[in-house]
C-alpha cells in the first residue's frame, strides 16, 4: 500500500475532511467580515465576540426557554443580528465619516466590553451544549469515523456561503448593495435608503457570525473566550483572500482550513502558525491578496 510521507492515504483523506470542517467556520466568519467591510468600510473586530454571543444565545435558549438546536439556527442569528443593528445605530454610524481606523478601535472596545461581561457572568471554563439528538453518532467511512454533526456542518456551511454569494452577486438587492459600495451618493439619489441598507447589512453580517456560533456550540465548549481566539486567524484569512470578492472569502476560508488540517498531520507544531506564514508569503507576492483588487 502506498504511503505519503508515512501517512496512509485513507488517513490523509480523513484529515482533509476535518480541515474542510474547520474551513467552514473560517469561511462563514470571513464572509461576514467581507460583507460588512464591503459596505461599511469597517473591520468588525466585534465579529469574534458576536460569534461567541451566537453560541451563548443558543445555550440560553436551550437552558432557559427549552428551545432546541434547530429553532436556534433561525432565532439566534435574528437576535444577535438585531443586537448588531442596535450597535450600528448607537455607535458605528458615527464612524463612517472618520478614518477607518477609528471603526476598528471602536469595535475592538466593544469586543472587550462584551467579552468582559460574559466572563463576569459565566466564568471562563464555559458551558456544555449537546449535539442535537438527530445528529449524534457517526458514520464509519472506512477510512475514518465521521460524526454526523460534522458532516452536517460542512453541508450547512456550504449552503449558507453560496446562498450569501448568490444573494449579493446575483439578486437585485445584491446589486444595490454592490452599487452602494461603489458610490453611495448615487444610489441614494436613485431613491434607495442607503443608511437603512447599511444598517441591515451590518445586522446580516453579524447574523452570519452568530449562525457560525450556533453551529460551533456543539463542537466546542461555549466559552466567553472562544471568539477572541478565532478572530485573529480569520483576519489572516481575510488578508490572504483579499476583501475584493465574496467568493474570495469563501474559497480562502475553506482552502486555508484544508491547509491547516494537512499541517496537523505532517507538522502539528506549526498548525497554529501556518496560516500566518501563508499570509506573509501572499503579502510578498500579491499584496492585495489572492482575490483582492489593488487600489
Amino acid at each position: 500500500m502506498f504511503e505519503l510521507l508515512g501517512i496512509p492515504p485513507q488517513a490523509l483523506f480523513g484529515q482533509l475532511l476535518l480541515g474542510l470542517i474547520n474551513g467552514a467556520f473560517y469561511a462563514m466568519l470571513s464572509l461576514g467580515l467581507a460583507v460588512i467591510f464591503g459596505l461599511l468600510n469597517i473591520i468588525n473586530f466585534t465579529h469574534g465576540a458576536q460569534y461567541m454571543m451566537g453560541a451563548f444565545c443558543a445555550w440560553f435558549l436551550l437552558n432557559l426557554l427549552g428551545v432546541g438546536y434547530w429553532p436556534s439556527l433561525i432565532i439566534v442569528p435574528l437576535i444577535v443580528g438585531a443586537f448588531g443593528i442596535l450597535l450600528e445605530r448607537a455607535f458605528l454610524r458615527w464612524m463612517y465619516k472618520l478614518d477607518r481606523l477609528y471603526g476598528l478601535l471602536l469595535t475592538f472596545g466593544l469586543a472587550l466590553i462584551i467579552e468582559g461581561l460574559f466572563r463576569q457572568g459565566y466564568g471562563s471554563s464555559g458551558q456544555p451544549y449537546a449535539i442535537p439528538a438527530q445528529l449524534t453518532g457517526g458514520q464509519n467511512l472506512g477510512f475514518m469515523f465521521l460524526p454526523n454533526y460534522r458532516a452536517w456542518v460542512i453541508v450547512a456551511s456550504i449552503i449558507v456561503c453560496f446562498g450569501t454569494w448568490y444573494l449579493i452577486e446575483r439578486t437585485k438587492l445584491g446589486s444595490y448593495l454592490r452599487a452602494a459600495t461603489e458610490n453611495a451618493a448615487l444610489v441614494q439619489a436613485f431613491g434607495i435608503n442607503v443608511p437603512r441598507m447599511v444598517t441591515l447589512t451590518y445586522g446580516f453580517g453579524v447574523g452570519l457570525a452568530a449562525l457560525a456560533g450556533v453551529m460551533a456550540a456543539p463542537i466546542y465548549q461555549v466559552s466567553p473566550l472562544m471568539g477572541s481566539n478565532i478572530i485573529i486567524v480569520v483576519f489572516a484569512v481575510v488578508v490572504i483572500g483579499g476583501m475584493g470578492s465574496i467568493m474570495g472569502a469563501i474559497i480562502s476560508g475553506f482552502g486555508l482550513g484544508i491547509v491547516e488540517g494537512l499541517t496537523k498531520v505532517f507538522y502539528p507544531e506549526a498548525s497554529s502558525t501556518v496560516i500566518f506564514v501563508i499570509m506573509a508569503i501572499v503579502l510578498l507576492i500579491k499584496p492585495a491578496g489572492l482575490f483582492g483588487r489593488a487600489n
Partner: protein, 408 residues
C-alpha cells in the same frame, strides 16, 4: 485620582518599629494584625478553579479560626493578577512593602506563582500556594517560606500514570500542549507508565488554544492505545474531552486520562461528555462526612462546587494560623518552621506533612467520572478508583532539585 497610596516608605518603617515596640511581649505580631492576601485569577482562564471561591474559602478559614490569632485580628485582602506575571509580582511587592501583608495565598498559573515566589523569598514572607501546578515551585525554584499546599504536576502525572497502568491501561498515547508545561507533564507521566511496565505508543504536540482537536484525536484513535493522556490544561482540556466524546473515543473502548483536570471542568463539560475520564485530585467533596460538611457550607456561600484548589486555600490558611498561634509570631521563617513541626489534619488532609522543600505531602486519589445514569444527586460526579499513598504521590526528596534539601 490615582494618588491614593501616598505613603513615604521611611514613615511607614517608623510606624512599624513603633508598633513592634508597643506590641505585647509574648506575641510578636508585626503591626498588630495578621494580614493575608488572596492573589488569584478572578477573571480569566483559572477563575473557576481559584478566583472568588478562593477568597471565600480563606474568609471561611478566618471565621472558623475565630477571627483572631495570638490575640490579634486577622484581615483578608484580595486582588486579581490577571494571569500576568508582572501584575502578580507588582501586587505582591506592593502588598508586602506598603500594605504589610504577612502571607500571600493561592496564585494559580505557574508563571505568576514563580514570580511571586521570588518576591516572597526576597522579603521573607509566607507564600501558601494552592492554585499553581508546576513542581518546580518545590524543585529548583523552592523557597524557605514557600509552601506548595494542594497538588503539583508530579503528583498528578504519577497518580494518574501509575494507577492506570496497574488497572490494565498499559499502552498510552499523549495529546501534549506544545509548551514547557505540557512537555513536562508528558515526560513525567510517560516515565511512570514505562516504570510500571506500560508502553508509550506515541504522542502529538498540539499548539495552545487550538480549538479543534479532531485531527489529533484521530491520530490517537488510530494508534489503538488503551489510554489517551491529555497533557494540557484549561480550555484545551475541555475541548479535547468534548471532541473525544463526539468522535466516540471512550465508547470505542479507549480511556481518557486528564492530567490536569478539575471538578469545575467536569461540571462545565457535563457528565454525558466527561464520563469515563480518569483523573487525580487531592480532594473531592463527597469523600466522607467531613468533606461533605465543609463543601455544603462552601456551596451555600458560592453556589459552586469547591475545587481542590479552593479547599486547599482553606486548609492552608487554617494551618498557617495554627502555626502563628503556636509560634506566637508572624515572622515568615518562624511560622513556616512551626508549620513543618505540626502535622496537618483537616477535613481533606489526614496526617499531612510539610517538607523542607516546601512540599506538603498527603494522599492523593484517582477518580473516574461517572456516567449520567450513575449520578444520583447534584455534583455526584466521581467514583474513587484508588488512593495513592503520600509517599508515592510526590517526588521523593532524594530526587529533589531544591537547594534547601541538599544543604540539609
Amino acid at each position: 485620582m490615582t494618588v491614593s497610596r501616598f505613603c513615604h516608605p521611611r514613615l511607614l518603617a517608623l510606624a512599624t518599629t513603633g508598633c513592634l515596640a508597643f506590641g505585647t511581649a509574648q506575641a510578636q505580631i508585626s503591626d498588630d494584625v495578621v494580614k493575608i492576601g488572596v492573589l488569584s485569577d478572578m477573571s480569566s482562564l483559572y477563575s473557576d478553579i481559584g478566583g472568588k471561591g478562593s477568597v471565600i474559602a480563606a474568609q471561611m478559614a478566618v471565621k472558623d479560626f475565630g477571627g483572631k490569632v495570638a490575640g490579634k485580628p486577622i484581615e483578608i485582602i484580595s486582588a486579581d493578577h490577571l494571569n500576568k506575571a508582572d501584575v502578580g509580582s507588582a501586587i505582591a511587592r506592593q502588598w508586602i512593602d506598603q500594605d504589610k501583608v504577612d502571607a500571600i495565598v493561592d496564585v494559580p498559573t505557574s508563571s505568576v506563582a514563580l514570580a511571586v515566589q521570588d518576591v516572597t523569598k526576597e522579603k521573607g514572607k509566607v507564600f501558601l500556594m494552592s492554585g499553581p501546578a508546576s513542581s518546580d515551585l518545590t524543585g529548583k525554584a523552592c523557597s524557605p517560606t514557600g509552601v506548595h499546599w494542594t497538588y503539583d504536576t508530579y503528583a498528578l502525572a504519577h497518580g494518574t500514570g501509575g494507577a492506570l497502568v496497574k488497572q490494565g491501561g498499559d499502552t498510552w498515547f499523549f495529546l501534549t500542549a506544545d509548551y514547557a508545561f505540557g512537555h513536562a507533564l508528558e515526560n513525567d507521566t510517560s516515565a511512570v507508565v514505562k516504570a510500571a511496565g506500560g508502553k508509550v505508543l506515541g504522542s502529538v504536540n498540539v499548539p495552545l488554544n487550538n480549538a479543534d482537536f479532531s485531527s489529533f484525536l484521530l491520530q490517537a484513535q488510530s494508534s489503538k492505545a488503551k489510554v489517551i493522556g491529555l497533557a494540557n490544561a484549561g480550555g484545551d482540556t475541555v475541548n479535547s474531552i468534548k471532541q473525544a466524546s463526539e468522535f466516540g473515543i471512550v465508547t470505542g473502548g479507549q480511556r481518557l486520562a486528564g492530567l490536569l483536570v478539575f471538578i469545575s471542568d467536569v461540571n462545565s463539560l457535563g457528565l454525558q461528555t466527561a464520563q469515563g475520564l480518569v483523573l487525580t485530585e487531592a480532594f473531592y467533596w463527597d469523600q466522607n462526612d467531613e468533606t461533605r460538611a465543609w463543601a455544603k457550607r462552601f456551596i451555600a456561600e458560592t453556589g459552586k462546587v469547591p475545587t481542590m484548589v479552593q479547599a486547599g486555600v482553606y486548609g492552608a490558611v487554617i494551618h498557617y494560623l495554627k502555626a502563628i498561634e503556636a509560634a506566637k509570631s508572624d515572622e515568615g521563617k518562624t511560622v513556616v518552621a512551626k508549620m513543618r513541626e505540626i502535622p496537618i489534619n483537616d477535613f481533606m488532609t489526614k496526617n499531612g506533612k510539610l517538607r523542607e522543600d516546601g512540599r506538603v505531602v498527603r494522599d492523593m486519589y484517582l477518580f473516574q467520572v461517572k456516567a449520567p445514569g450513575e449520578s444520583k444527586y447534584q455534583y455526584d460526579y466521581y467514583k474513587q478508583l484508588a488512593t495513592i499513598p503520600a509517599e508515592e504521590a510526590y517526588r521523593p526528596l532524594s530526587e529533589s532539585a531544591c537547594p534547601l534539601v541538599k544543604k540539609g
